[in-house]
């Protein structure tokens, strides 16, 4: 563990709440980036980050210092994001009316020639965001961690608290769920 982190954590535990501020300052960019993967509105992102740090402050006594503080904080962040997804899982019915022309063009180009290099990566990213928004919270979390953040199954198991076999099962189901959403999107005539 970082010596500075250890000193600051010890000070916070000793009752000096102000020592928590440098920790917030140091890790908040990382937590913001994580939260932005799950929430689109900036106000929601800020709420998630705030909740992560408040939880971290309240649970600091449970941090044993065996792993780096950043890992512990990331675990807290991922679980908070998952709670956020579960709390906002309403309105997931398929409604792709907001697919832009650019996104439709990207999909059309893919259908015409799947091996071609599509130019607009921004359009693809938007499609991913829209498709992920239609998935169940576990499916969205697992695909983000596994396919987009490129994390290993073991790492995901540590972050989420799910067992390795459960992560594998959920990943399999999540991919199938995403393919179903894509098929529905295509069937609805956006390609």
């Amino acid at each position: 563990m970082d010596i500075n982190d250890a000193e600051q954590i010890a000070a916070v535990r000793g009752g000096d709440a102000a020592s928590f501020e440098p920790l917030v300052k140091k890790y908040q960019p990382r937590i913001f980036a994580t939260a932005r993967r799950y929430a689109r509105r900036e106000s929601e992102v800020e709420d998630i980050v705030q909740e992560v740090f408040i939880k971290a402050y309240q649970k600091l006594a449970s941090y044993r210092g065996e792993a780096p503080f950043e890992h512990w904080l990331m675990r807290l962040a991922v679980r908070t994001c998952y709670d956020f997804l579960r709390a906002h899982q309403r309105n997931r019915e398929i409604n792709f009316s907001d697919v832009t022309t650019e996104e439709t063009n990207w999909l059309e180009q893919f259908v015409a020639d799947p091996s071609s290099r599509n130019e607009s990566a921004a359009a693809a990213r938007e499609i991913v965001a829209k498709v992920l928004a239609k998935l169940t919270p576990p499916a969205r979390l697992i695909l983000t961690l596994l396919e987009i953040e490129d994390r290993s199954v073991k790492e995901i198991s540590r972050l989420t608290g799910w067992s390795v076999p459960l992560v594998k099962v959920r990943a399999f189901r999540a991919r199938a769920e995403m393919r179903k959403v894509l098929e529905k999107m295509i069937r609805k005539g956006y390609v």
Binding site: A17, A18, F20, E21, V24, K25, Q28, P29, R30, F32, A33, R36, R37, E46, V49, Q50, F53, I54, Y57, Q58, L107, F110, V111, P114, N118, A121, A124, R125, I127, V128, A129, V131, L143, E147, I148, D150, R175, M178, R179, L182, E183, I186, V191
Partner: protein, 102 residues
């Protein structure tokens, strides 16, 4: 339509650009202010928790005292009867002895 291939391509596009990590100005101050506020609320939470914890022993003590009060009042009334008999025996004892001597 190869959805598997489409999925792979979409993931590759999403992987290519990580999300922004910029932070709103003085965000850490906002968090520290919130923590300070939470700490104040925490005193009341702690007090509430202590009250809840104290509730069960208080109820148990109340029940024990009720039972003790009922039992002691019964035994007290029994003792009062005994006292009356004992008093009568004491008062009448000389007379009883007189009757016996005659």
């Amino acid at each position: 339509m190869n959805t598997l291939e489409l999925q792979k391509k979409l993931f590759a596009a999403a992987r290519s650009t990580p999300p922004r990590n910029d932070v709103p100005y003085a965000f850490e101050k906002r968090i520290m202010a919130r923590i300070a506020k939470e700490a104040l609320v925490d005193v009341w939470t702690l007090w509430g928790r202590l009250l809840w914890r104290a509730a069960a022993p208080c109820v148990a003590l109340m029940l024990a005292l009720t039972v003790w009060a009922m039992v002691s009042s019964q035994s007290a009334s029994r003792n009062t009867d005994n006292l009356a008999v004992a008093l009568e025996d004491q008062v009448m004892a000389p007379l009883a002895r007189l009757e016996e001597s005659w």
